[in-house]
């Protein structure tokens, strides 16, 4: 009898082992597959944290909801002292890292201290000290009030990892974080597979695996969606939408994201240092034509930087007719002394109005939009050379002063509060690498400094509105169009929702529809 029992146990053990082996493999039926355009190369959150945050491996102390309001995450509540210089974060109980270790204040301090010396918004925050008050409280002391701290801590670069995840120099050796999914396969720069984490503190995932595949070409991604071999495809080419809409197995989503196609101008350039010249260039752009004909998203055209969802900064009184009150492009340029020569190009004191516009191919729509603007400016007599280069040439051109015009795609939701980007783009130095250039406006410098320290929402909105109005009137940047993220979701997956701040794919809320 004992022998029989032993055999039976062995059979059971082997069966269980076999069962585990079989189920512990990602297959099409137990994996939700995602395809998007961006590659990842490193485990370090400061470099490629966006992908780990979206795949729900990485979590931060605070989260942001779809309106950009801060929400509890690894800290379930936080207090700010009366002088707004001491922030206390009370950590959630029972949070485990993927390596099994319990999260405590020391591990959070360790992660933040490492993030602070790496590239990211935390490095620029006026932090005096980050320390653990007790096992579950982290206190951050600031040298001056800084309302952005919460939004900065919600950025993926400041994700909390287990102390064992780091090497001795702070390099990330393993991605032991706290999310509902943990790393299963890491094959940079194309493939990432994550596996459900049973020890998750919040809503546990129902789908066992999720995979992320970099699909460089929009054509391939569309075909992946059509074939049903990939469940969720981000960044679809708008031209393919009508044919995808006809497929019964796909649901399509169009969501506005706080990203804007915008022209960065060198306001110190001799042709552009008068606001009338900048207004004329803005008036000459047929935004509706670009939105409809090139981006194929009618209605995405914009005269201002930030969308209506960022209500503090969005100007309700601005329409496409508002700027036309200044005059026409031709009359504004004529008032500056520019006259068309025999070639149809504007000329003043023997010099032709010629500009070089830089752009980059990381986002293919930029090059097409650049050539459309080139033609539209040509019509008013401004000759433009379009130079397609690496995106790094833009901050470099800003720094060495050689940049004249650049067509860029600016993400204002990079930090949940757009003030972070506004400060770096229009802050104390008269602009920033991706913002205004050689444009100094004392009123906006003062306003942005006030905003950094203001926690009163009424005062905040009034100040932000004034800043937005100055930027619109002065045109140091010329907005062209907002971005709309086009996504297809296979109907075998339910529970999809889109995060406009692109922080999470909400994989743990998804389920497979039972056949």
């Amino acid at each position: 009898m004992p022998a029989l029992k032993r055999i039976f146990s062995c059979v059971l053990a082997v069966g269980a082992l076999f069962g585990v082996t079989v189920s512990a493999q990602p297959t099409q039926s137990n994996t939700v597959s995602i395809s998007a355009a961006f590659e990842f190369t490193s485990l370090d959150p400061s470099k490629n944290g966006f992908v780990y945050s979206r795949m729900q491996v990485l979590e931060t102390l605070l989260d942001a909801n779809e309106s950009g309001l801060l929400m509890p995450a690894l800290a379930d509540r936080w207090d700010v002292s009366d002088d707004a210089k001491t922030w206390s974060f009370h950590l959630r109980d029972g949070v485990r890292f993927h390596d099994g270790r319990l999260m405590d204040a020391d591990s959070v301090v360790n992660s933040l201290a490492i993030a602070q010396v790496k590239h990211g918004a935390l490095r620029n925050a006026p932090i005096e000290s980050i320390r653990a008050l007790d096992k579950s409280t982290v206190v951050i002391r600031l040298s001056r009030p800084y309302t952005l701290l919460g939004a900065v801590l919600a950025n993926y670069a400041n994700g909390i990892l287990s102390p064992d995840a780091y090497g001795k120099d702070g390099e990330v050796l393993a991605l032991s974080a706290t999310g509902p999914y943990q790393l299963y396969q890491f094959a940079p720069p194309h493939k990432l597979v994550v596996e459900k984490f049973e020890g998750y503190w919040g809503k546990k995932a129902s789908i066992p695996y999720a995979s992320y595949l970099t699909g460089h070409r929009a054509e391939s991604r569309v075909l992946q969606a059509r074939s049903g071999q990939v469940d969720i495809v981000f960044g679809l080419d708008p031209a393919s939408l009508p044919s995808l809409k006809r497929l019964p197995n796909l649901a399509l989503y169009s969501n506005a994201i706080p990203r804007t196609i915008v022209l960065k101008l060198n306001s110190g350039h001799r042709f552009l240092n008068d606001v009338r010249a900048r207004q004329a260039l803005s008036l000459a752009i047929n935004r509706q034509g670009i939105a409809k004909g090139i981006l194929r998203v009618p209605g995405s055209e914009t005269e201002q930087l930030l969308p209506a969802s960022m209500s503090n900064w969005h100007l309700n009184n601005v329409t496409n007719e508002t700027e036309a009150t200044a005059g026409t492009a031709e009359s504004l340029l004529a008032s500056l002394g520019w006259k068309k020569n025999a070639k149809g190009i504007l000329e003043k004191e023997g010099e032709e109005f010629h500009l070089t516009m830089m752009t980059y191919a990381d986002r293919p729509e930029l090059t097409t939009v650049a050539t459309a603007i080139q033609a539209q400016w040509q019509a008013i007599g401004v000759s433009t050379k379009v130079e397609v280069t690496n995106s790094s040439a833009i901050p470099m051109g800003h720094q060495d002063g050689s940049l004249e015009v650049a067509l860029i795609s600016r993400n204002y939701g990079f930090i949940a509060d757009p003030l972070g980007v506004m400060l770096s783009d229009f802050g104390v130095h008269g602009g920033g690498d991706w913002g205004a250039m050689n444009w100094n406006n004392k009123a906006i410098t003062a306003d942005l400094t006030v905003l950094e320290e203001t926690s009163n929402p009424v005062k905040y909105k009034a100040t932000a509105q004034r800043s937005a109005q100055i930027i619109f009137a002065e045109r140091p940047m010329i907005p062209v169009s907002f971005y709309v993220q086009q996504t297809s979701v296979n109907k075998r997956v339910k529970g999809f929702r889109f995060d406009p701040f692109e922080r999470s794919y909400f994989l743990n809320e998804m389920e497979f529809v039972k056949p």
């Binding site: 940079p188 720069p189 980059y360 795609s409």
Partner: protein, 311 residues
């Protein structure tokens, strides 16, 4: 044979040093600030600024002189160290193993299928002549005129979308290999079937071949004894060249099918100014090319030992 191998070993050392040095000089002479390029690839387009570039410059000691950097590379190379990627921080050897492994797999699979297509078609074309020869000529020209990218999309439409037999893109299972390999194979076979046909036609017309028929051998016996080897020499040499050029030249296929090969990886490394990856990849590819050429030469010598003296 020994002399040839010795010569090739010497060639290998020259290639390793030459390729590495040339890559170094070319990368250093490219326009633009390296620190900004690396920062853009490390932190993404939204997150690159002067501060990121300064951080990269300091961390990687980019301000050190070119000669010092070159000397360091040479010293590391002598110790078989390929270093770490400037972008990801991961060991170059691992990145190359991942990328080159996938490229070689794809290239070999593509070549094998192309041989299976090109050899029978080329021989048939030479043997039967017109109208089959003209039809194949037309087809080959059509496929060659078509960018390989279009061919890939056509295959995806047919095999992945219409019949749903194979995945559209990705890697990791044998099924993922089929469409990129087939695309590659067809574009290669479009040229190589003509090479097989020309070689076969030349042999079929040769006096020794005609004589063997006259002396009473059957068509099959003639082909086996006097045809196959003679046809094979230029064909094998051509396939060798194709394999070499394929490993570096399948960027479009890799991109279309999201295949993590060296062509695509190298292109990205160049954009990012990731010099250790570029040098490492160029180096390994240089070694691979010498090895492949040696292999092809050995194969040709084995097929036609008359070439021994020239080698």
């Amino acid at each position: 044979m020994k002399a040839m191998l010795l010569k090739r070993a010497l060639q290998l050392v020259t290639v390793v040093w030459g390729v590495g040095t040339l890559t170094f000089i070319l990368m250093r002479s490219l326009p633009g600030d390296m620190a900004y390029r690396i920062a853009a690839s490390r932190y993404g387009q939204d997150n690159v600024n002067a501060q990121a570039a300064a951080l990269v410059r300091e961390e990687l000691n980019l301000d050190q002189g070119a000669f010092a950097a070159y000397w360091q590379w040479l010293v590391d190379l002598l110790q078989f160290k390929l270093g770490h990627s400037l972008v990801s921080g991961l060991p170059v050897a691992d990145a190359i193993q991942h990328m080159l492994g996938h490229s070689v797999l794809l290239a070999l699979a593509g070549l094998l299928v192309s041989v299976l297509i090109a050899v029978p078609l080329g021989l048939l074309s030479a043997w039967r002549g017109n109208p089959l020869d003209s039809v194949l000529m037309g087809l080959s020209s059509l496929i060659r005129a078509m960018p390989v990218f279009v061919l890939g999309v056509l295959f995806i439409l047919l095999f992945a979308l219409h019949w749903n037999w194979f995945p559209v893109a990705g890697f990791g299972t044998p099924a993922h290999l089929v469409l990129p390999a087939l695309t590659l194979a067809l574009s290669l076979a479009a040229v190589s079937n003509r090479v097989v046909r020309d070689s076969a036609k030349q042999v079929f017309r040769a006096a020794f071949y005609q004589f063997s028929r006259v002396k009473g051998l059957s068509a099959w016996q003639t082909f086996r004894r006097h045809g196959a080897r003679n046809i094979a020499v230029p064909v094998v040499a051509f396939f060798g060249i194709q394999l070499v050029s394929m490993i570096e030249g399948i960027v479009m296929i890799e991109s279309l099918f999201s295949w993590p090969g060296i062509g695509h990886g190298l292109a990205h490394a160049i954009f990012a100014r990731d010099i250790p990856v570029i040098q490492g990849a160029a180096l390994v590819m240089g070694v691979l090319f010498v090895a492949l050429n040696t292999l092809v030469d050995m194969l040709c010598l084995w097929i036609d030992p008359r070439g021994v003296r020239e080698a």
